[in-house]
Symmetry: C2
Subunit: 230 residues, 2 copies
Amino acid sequence: MNAIEQLKQEAALKAVEYLKSGMTIGLGTGSTAKYAIEALGQKLSSGGLERISAVPTSEATAELARRAQIPLVELSGSGVDIAIDGMDEITENLDAIKGNGGALTREKIVAARARTFILIGDERKQVQRLGANPVPVEVVPFGWRATLADLVSLGCEAIPRRQDSSAEAPFFISDNGNYILDCQFSRQFSPYAIAAEMLAIPGVVEHGLFLGMAKLAYIATHKGVLELSR
Amino acid sequence: MNAIEQLKQEAALKAVEYLKSGMTIGLGTGSTAKYAIEALGQKLSSGGLERISAVPTSEATAELARRAQIPLVELSGSGVDIAIDGMDEITENLDAIKGNGGALTREKIVAARARTFILIGDERKQVQRLGANPVPVEVVPFGWRATLADLVSLGCEAIPRRQDSSAEAPFFISDNGNYILDCQFSRQFSPYAIAAEMLAIPGVVEHGLFLGMAKLAYIATHKGVLELSR
């Protein structure tokens, strides 16, 4: 395991320490969340945790969780106790950009119903302000060109995500059957204002700005794991 | 044709009079929009209109338009010249509730990109304030119970729409693959505030409040067709 992978795992293990028997857990998607899923599976098989049920935020995470023998349930009206997920960027006050893995809508649906939402990642993800990475936006395929034009009018370049890096590859399709437009801003922007403006565009399903949602973050650095809270 | 159907048709014909050759037209969905589609088809076949292309707001409308030999196109980034659609309720200042037909998201995607959006209907649809009918809300199937709980917290009763009136019928599925929750408010509400709150709920794709969108409305009454504008 290389140094970055080791940091991801360290952050994930800290979050898993937070879990208690009997809880319902939201399982995030991506290369960092994967380590949390594996660690949860090991704690269940060793008896370190019992009576856990989990809500996966993607088909890929559901598959990982099944392999780790984690009991899965649908998200209920009462939400989950804790959700654990990675991020693309995170600020000091725990605002984040997510969606590089394409699962942002399900991730937000679960995170918004978590009594505690925990973000995990390595130190490369820390930023002073959001926007170095694109903000991924999930859009209904119908009329996507018009939705893209409206997103561009907010001051970004919006690129439809493709299934691979070739320029002719078919568009990436989310688990919800939608497209992802990656919105790269070249100027500073107010995340809360942009979030509201994006939601008001017909055709936008959800955006990757996760603002005021996380209560805790574990950031693994070469000097140890930082715990941030708000 | 009964009296109500006749009124629907009268309103639709007024809107179709507004169309000009060369235009791109958004075609609405439902029992009133149907008359506009039929009238447009007749004008095209008689030569009264030429070089029209149309964007259908549902699979059902696409099928009607194909039968009427109206050339169909996808919505482009430059939108449409005119969109014509029915509504469930309309106020004096042309705010409306739409979505009884289940096509609200595509209808809003097209209407928002119309240089002129025209609502048509019979006099029964006129209201002093919105909310006698439910506000239909399209939601992602994943986590719908949690999305429903959040909608209920806005002060409404939210009922998943089914494919027919039997209590065991499967849920209605929109053309976008989503569910519709019909949100009935028992108290007066501020449409703009509720619209923003609904959009902020993760899992909500779009709602049926069409506020500040229509420029013109033709309301057919027993005394003639009213033209309302803003």
